[in-house]
Structure formats: C-alpha cells, structure tokens
C-alpha cells in the first residue's frame, strides 16, 4: 500500500453561477521515501492538491488516504492533531514567526505533541544540525538570510519526524545559490533520513532532483517527465 493515496479527487470552487474545477478526478500514489515534484502553470491547482494531501483543505469529492488514515473523514479538530503528528509543511520563504528565535520556531510543532522538554530540546537540536544551522539557534528570523530562514523552515517541517513533507515553492523566493543549498539539503534528507517529499515548484531545477515528476494541466494529473523548456514556456504564458 502506498503511503499517500489520492483517489478520484475533485475540487471545485463556486463563485455564484461560476464553477472552477482546479482538480478533476485526480488520482495519485506516493510511496514511502519517494521524492515527488509537482509542476504546472500558475492556477493549475498545484497548491490545492498539496493542501488536500496536507489535510488543510477538503476535496469536493474523492478520498485522500495517508498511511491508511482516510483524512478526508477526520473532523477539523482531529485533522489539526493529525497534521501536527504526520505532516511537515515547508512554505515559501518568510514564514517563520518573527518574534520567536530559530530554536523556538522549530520547536513549535513539538509543543503540540507529547514530548518532554528535554526530548524537545534534543529533537530541535538535531533538526537544526540537519539543516546546518546549529549555531543560529538563538537568532531571530530578521538576523538570518533568506536561505537560512528557509532552512529553519525545513528544520521545523522535519522536527516531528512526519510521514510526508510537503513543500509549496520552497525555493520560489530564493537566489540561485540559496536554491542550490536548499535542493542539496532536501536531497540529503531524502536519501539519508528517508523523508518522503512532495514538492510543488515552478523551477525546473527543483523539479529535476525529484525521482518522479508530475504535472497538473486542466485539472488532470500527467504522470510523466516534463522537459525543462516546456515548463519554462508554460510559465511565461
């Protein structure tokens, strides 16, 4: 059984008479330890699909099953708790809490789980070490570079040892050099810790590190490799 199963998922948004259907009977499986990228034109529904898998949104119809749990059937409260325990979410940059230090930011997900104080410390230290920022634990986000901020964001996503880490354009705001570092980090986490990744991106280089590259087009998922230049053209449209 796949770690993530998306079965015939439809997502519709209704604006009066007008109905948009960014996801039209989409099905998808992600295996444990896989690294999957998801591309597609702007507005094609990438974030929508990602958010369904992360359990912060619900499909109009269809099922999302993660590790055997049909998350589409959980109550909002259950879902929140499930996210805390099983999902790591990497946002676009600038999504750290500015009034908390790097350490405190990374600790946030652990406060929701039954960890002792010393256990939390140990895990945060490990996560920060994994992203190479042990020496920045006491820094506030404004004292970090964009790339470092994003690495703290990644540490926060992996600190609770989730089933899946989803990332929505994790390198979207970064320069080439920082992007390179982040990609290296993601790959390393995937190979060394076996973290399962689903990464939404516009950037062919980011997609390039994935073992499997998916593409959303007109509400349908195309499970095929996508040449870099095609992606670039779609983006320019």
């Amino acid at each position: 059984m796949a770690l993530v199963e998306v079965i015939d998922v439809v997502k519709e948004y209704r604006k009066g008479e007008h109905v948009i259907r960014p996801l039209d009977e989409v099905s998808l499986e992600i295996e444990r330890h896989e690294f999957v990228s998801l591309m597609g034109a702007s507005g094609s529904g990438k974030s929508t699909l990602l958010n369904l898998i992360a359990g912060i949104d619900r499909p109009t119809s269809g099922e999302v099953i993660v590790n055997g749990t049909a998350i589409t059937r959980l109550s909002r409260r259950q879902l929140a708790h499930w996210r805390a325990a099983h999902i790591g979410y990497v946002f676009q940059t600038h999504n750290l809490i500015p009034v908390l230090t790097a350490f405190e930011n990374v600790e946030l997900p652990l406060l929701l789980l039954p960890f002792s104080r010393s256990e939390r410390r140990k895990r945060v230290a490990l996560a920060l070490e994994a992203v190479g920022l042990s020496d920045r634990a006491d820094h506030y986000p404004r004292q970090l570079s964009g790339g470092q901020e994003q690495r703290v964001g990644i540490a926060r996503a992996i600190v609770a040892d989730p089933l899946v880490v989803v990332a929505d354009e994790p390198t979207g705001d970064l320069d080439a050099e920082s992007t390179e570092q982040i990609l290296e980090l993601l790959m390393r986490l995937n190979t060394e810790l076996g973290t399962t990744f689903l990464v939404v991106t516009h950037d062919p280089r980011t997609a390039g590190i994935a073992q499997r590259r998916l593409r959303l087009e007109k509400g349908k998922l195309l499970d095929r490799d996508c040449p870099a230049h095609v992606a670039t053209i779609t983006e320019d449209e």
């Binding site: 996210r83 979410y89 946002f91 908390l100 946030l108 997900p109 406060l111 929701l112």
Partner: protein, 387 residues
C-alpha cells in the same frame, strides 16, 4: 487536549509594533483612569453613607421628619423621657446612651469671608460621644463655651481651605463668633463634613428650645420594637423611630440616580476603550493572517490561536490597568468632594481596584475576540496566500 501557543509569543508580539502598542496602552490607560475615578466616586459615596450607619443606633425624630432630619423638631424633654422609659437603651456607669441633637444647615462665615457658605451644624450634648462612636478627636479638644469642633471634611464642605477651620481660627455662625477648639474624624462617615458645638449654646443662638432628633444606642438586650412602641404610645410627643441603617439606606437610594449616571458614564467611556482596543487588535491580527494560518497548518487549533490573541489583548489591558490604578491611587484616592449633603472622600479601595481591573480585562477580551474570530473563520489555504 488543548495545546496552547507559547506564552512568549503573545508577550513578544506586543513589541512588534511598539508605537502602536504604546498608543493603545495610553488610550486605554486614560479610559481606565476615568473608570477608576467614577468607581472611587461611587465607592466613596457608598462608604460614607454605609459607615455613617451604626446598626445599634436608632434615630428618634418627629413624625414624618425621617426624610429630612433638619426639618424634624421634637420637644427637648423627650430626651429625659426616653432615657427613663425605655429599658432597652444602653447604659453604663449611670450614663444613658441618648444623644439629643440639633441638626441644621446654615451659613458659616470663616475669617475674612463676607459671603459665607452653607455648612452642616450639629449641636450636641456630652452623650453624643457615647452614641456616635465613630467620632474621634484628632486635634485640639472638645468645644466648651463659645467653641466648636470641626469634622475633617468640614472645610471641604464649605469650599474653603483647611486652614480656614484650623484649631484657633474663628467662624461666624448664626450671628455669633465661635472659636475652633478641635478637629475630629469619623472613619469616613458623613459626620466628618459637620461642625459640632454645645447643644445649649446653639439653641440660644437659634432661639430654639426643641431638638431635631435623639440618637440612642440599643443595649445588649434592647430591641428597636421597644423604642418604636414607646413612640407610638406617647402620641403627645409626636415621635417616630427609625433605625439609623434604614435612614442611610434611604439616603443611598436617594443617590441612586447619581450612581446610575456614573455607571452610564463608565459604560460610555468603556465603549471608547473597546474601540481603541478593537482598532489595535484588528490591525494586529489582520497583519498576521498568514502567520496565524501557518500556525493552524502546523496543527494549532483555532481555539489556541484565539486564546493567544486574547492573551495579547489582556496583556495590553493589564498594563493599562496597572498604570491607571497607580495614577488613580496617586492622584484620585483621598480627594475630598463636596456635595449637597456634606462631603466625602474618593476611595480607590480594593473593590474599586478589582472592579476597574475586571472592566479592563473585559475590554481586552472583547477587543481581541472580534478580530480573532474573524480571522479564524477564513479557510487556512486562503489565508496562507495573504500577504
């Protein structure tokens, strides 16, 4: 189980926009200062009336004179009659606790004052100190011939500086000159606004033989019914008895409109406070839509986030309340206020402080709750896209 956001998050958020927080704290402090002022007014008034009443004291006055003791008039000989006829009245060392008193409001002229001002006068016999147990000399001595003792707030009641009624000064009352021989306190009761002198001398000056009332203290086994019965039997004297607590209870009711007015002012001013708080908390929360959505994504419940925003509102309110209370204690507490019946002191007592702080926290909660709930109603995915 509800997992809350770290406490530091709420605290440090206050310093995110220090200017805005400071402005809100300033506005709320002002609002709460007014609330504290109103509260200490009500407390002062209530306390002065409540303390004035001794549960063991019964006032005997003319029939129908209970509304306004100054218009009451009873024969002077009633004092001796009451003392001899009612066994329930307190006695000790041969003294019976019956205090005949002449009570009136009249013009009092302090030295160098042509106009005079209305003062509350009480002509008393030596037994007054037995019955009026709250009264205590704080300076000088009790009056003898041609002398008066003044209450701590008598000068305030006259609208004159304290020095005008200092010991050794003289005042003109009813065409006679009196020397101030002493000053007294009465644990904050209404008596503190009065000027006391020897009963017989006031009677002479006023060309009156009657007294306004008798104040009597009930003994250990004494009951109000005994006195009441005596008054009803002696139709010739036209007496009526009222427990002192009842009398001041009536007075408190008399001031109900004033209290109502003050409470409405408190409500209005608090409304302004809520607006100030709302404004800030709205700005605070709307500037953090994405951050709050991100916290929800991590698994924090809406309840936890709403509580965290409320915590911020309460912190702002608590800081404001602290400052306002300190300012009120320093500037308002103890200020004497004159009003028709006498004078009393504004009191920032524990009740006023507690009530004011409760108002403050309510302001904080109300101010924070509305914006918090509004933001929490948005779907997470949408909020994550907010700037």
């Amino acid at each position: 189980m509800l997992r809350l956001l770290p406490w530091e998050y709420g605290v440090r958020n206050l310093f995110r926009r220090p200017g805005r927080t400071a402005l809100t704290v300033a506005a709320l402090t002002l609002v709460l200062l007014m609330v504290f002022a109103a509260l200490s007014f009500v407390r002062g008034l209530n306390l002065s009336l409540a303390i004035s009443a001794d549960p063991r004291v019964v006032l005997i006055h003319s029939v129908g004179g209970g509304e306004n003791l100054e218009s009451s008039s009873i024969p002077a000989r009633s004092a001796a009659l009451v003392a001899a006829s009612i066994p329930g009245i307190q006695r000790r060392y041969g003294q019976v606790y019956v205090s005949p008193e002449l009570h009136l409001t009249t013009r009092v002229y302090v030295d160098g004052d042509e106009q005079g001002a209305l003062g509350v006068i009480r002509g008393v016999a030596p037994t007054a100190l037995l019955v009026r147990q709250q009264v205590q000399l704080i300076e000088g001595r009790w009056p003898q011939l041609g002398e008066v003792a003044v209450g701590r707030l008598a000068a305030v009641k006259l609208g004159r500086p304290d020095e005008a009624l200092a010991v050794g000064q003289t005042v003109m009352i009813e065409g006679r000159r009196w020397r101030v021989s002493g000053r007294f306190a009465a644990v904050g009761s209404a008596l503190e606004a009065e000027i006391w002198g020897p009963l017989d001398e006031f009677q002479q000056a006023l060309k009156r033989q009657d007294v306004s009332l008798l104040a009597v203290t009930l003994g250990p086994g004494g009951e109000f019914g005994e006195i009441d019965e005596f008054c009803k039997e002696r139709l010739d004297l036209e007496l009526q008895a009222t427990p002192e607590t009842f009398f001041y209870g009536n007075l408190q009711a008399h001031y109900r409109p004033i209290r109502l007015l003050i409470w409405s002012i408190v409500a209005l001013v608090s409304g302004a406070g809520v607006l100030a708080g709302l404004n800030t908390m709205y700005a605070n929360v709307l500037g953090r839509v994405r951050e709050l959505a991100m916290l929800q994504t991590l698994g924090y419940s809406r309840t936890a986030l709403v509580l965290s925003v409320i915590q911020e509102g309460m912190l702002i309110a608590a800081i404001s309340a602290l400052m306002a209370a300190a300012m009120a204690l320093w500037a308002i507490d103890g200020t004497a206020i004159r009003f028709t019946m006498g004078a009393f002191v504004l009191r920032m007592d524990s009740v006023a402080v507690a009530t004011g702080c409760a108002v403050a926290l309510a302001l904080g909660v109300v101010g924070a709750l509305t914006p918090a709930l509004r933001v929490m109603r948005m779907p997470i995915g949408e909020s994550l896209k907010a700037i």
